[in-house]
């Protein structure tokens, strides 16, 4: 019965009621990446997990990994950083939800991604303390796309490789993974010069604060790219659109 215990920091990506009293969780753990776990008794007994199974909090989790199954068992979960400020504004909740969805959809199971974990940690902390920012959301999305090998091509045409002139608007084609020059057919989305520059700065790991309109433009392009790869629509994006209507 080779049972292994794993102590790790983690974020909750999804929680689904299971049967009368349990929950099935999808966790982004620092040590092992995305893992599924069952939290026995989580629906009835609040003594066991308290408020720790609410999204957005940074947790310290103890998991029992079982060799016979991919479903770990959550033994303990303690809140390290509650990030309660995220739930004070609808837009913050929407942006946090979109980020967690992206991690859930793009991460491969049982594959550690410490860089994305740290990026998510500081992203949620910033949402908690400073409130929503589309620009920071774009930064996190780029990081998630990059660790899953889906980073968009932003410096040169995805077809002919010709460099994109700086500070100029460019066409973006999700199906061809990035910017495409006019002579190769362009793409359905126009990225403004400033949005493109901001994206390139963020992709290069530099701090960049995109203005609201440019951040929206960049976020739309990244969403289209992600949805094209996943073959379906992202729910978080739909939620954000509905609450801002």
């Amino acid at each position: 019965m080779g049972r292994e215990t794993l102590d790790t920091r983690a974020f909750l990506l999804k929680s689904t009621p299971y049967g009368e009293s349990d929950r099935i969780l999808s966790l982004f753990t620092e040590a092992r990446g995305k893992l599924s776990a069952i939290a026995l008794g989580a629906r009835r007994s609040r003594k066991r997990f308290g408020g720790s199974l609410e999204p957005f909090a940074l947790l310290q989790a103890r998991l029992a990994l079982r060799p016979s199954t991919d479903l770990a068992r959550l033994e303990l979960a303690e809140v390290l950083e509650p990030n309660l400020g995220v739930s004070k504004q609808l837009v913050s909740m929407g942006q946090a939800g979109a980020a967690l969805e992206l991690c859930r959809e793009l991460l491969a199971p049982d594959q550690p991604e410490p860089r994305l974990f740290r990026a998510l940690e500081s992203y949620l902390r910033a949402l908690d303390v400073r409130g929503p920012s589309l620009s920071r959301m774009v930064g996190l999305e780029l990081c998630a796309l990059e660790v899953s090998g889906l980073h968009p091509r932003l410096g040169e045409c995805g077809v002919c490789g010709k460099p994109v002139p700086p500070r100029r608007a460019a066409r973006f084609d999700p199906a061809r993974g990035g910017v495409v020059c006019r002579s190769d057919g362009g793409g359905p989305i126009t990225l403004s010069g400033r949005a493109l520059e901001g994206l390139r700065a963020l992709a290069a790991g530099r701090d960049a604060e995109l203005a609201e309109g440019d951040a929206k433009n960049a976020a739309d392009a990244l969403r289209a790219l992600t949805e094209w790869h996943l073959g379906r629509q992202l729910k978080g994006a739909a939620f954000l659109r509905q609450i801002s209507d």
């Binding site: 609040r46 004070k88 909740m93 967690l100």
Partner: protein, 192 residues
């Protein structure tokens, strides 16, 4: 036995006990029970006004003249409505949403019966008490409702309050004890 075992809270052993009990029970009782079960979904339906379960067009709470129609309590589920009724501390009427906003699952305002609520609040309602659970989904729903009520001319003057969190964060209203839930109701605050 297989069918009985699908009922919530009924395991294999309980299903077996129920089956043996029914085998030995008087014929009239079994017939009446079977009849009630098969009529349940035909006769009982959501109240046209508030969403509570009823056999009539409007439920017993909506038609009770002694209840204060000026205060409407918004809840996620009928189970939560019943939990609040058990406290005996709420004199007004209800509105059952049937679901909560879920930022992680993409359940947005368009998926909830919010237009029906706004429609109802317009005439003669002084206060809306949002009694969604103290979870991320419950908070999101409360914030959205406050925003929607204040954003509409017809409902801008209505006081929107949220039950105090004597209920533990992450908890279910349905499982909260009556005293805690009653105090949470008494200590409700206005949503900014």
């Amino acid at each position: 036995m297989r069918l009985l075992g699908r009922l919530p809270g009924v395991g294999e052993r309980t299903a077996q006990r129920l089956a043996f009990f029914l085998l030995r029970a008087p014929r009239d009782y079994v017939t009446a029970l079977g009849g009630s079960i098969s009529e349940l979904q035909e006769r009982v339906h959501p109240c046209a006004r508030c969403g509570n379960y009823t056999e009539e067009e409007a439920c017993a709470i909506c038609t009770d003249e002694r209840r204060d129609a000026g205060v409407v309590c918004v809840v996620g589920t009928v189970q939560d409505l019943m939990a609040i009724e058990r406290t005996g501390r709420f004199p007004g009427r209800y509105h059952v949403l049937g679901a909560l906003l879920a930022p992680l699952d993409g359940v947005g305002p368009e998926d909830l019966p919010i237009p029906a609520l706004l429609e109802r609040i317009g005439d003669g309602v002084r206060e809306v008490v949002v009694a969604t659970p103290p979870t991320v989904e419950g908070e999101a729903t409360a914030l959205y409702l406050a925003q929607a009520l204040k954003g509409s001319n017809r409902t801008a003057c209505v006081r929107v309050t949220r039950i105090a969190s004597g209920v533990q964060y992450g908890g279910d209203l349905e499982y909260a004890d009556q005293v805690t839930l009653g105090r949470a109701l008494d200590g409700r605050r206005e949503i900014e």
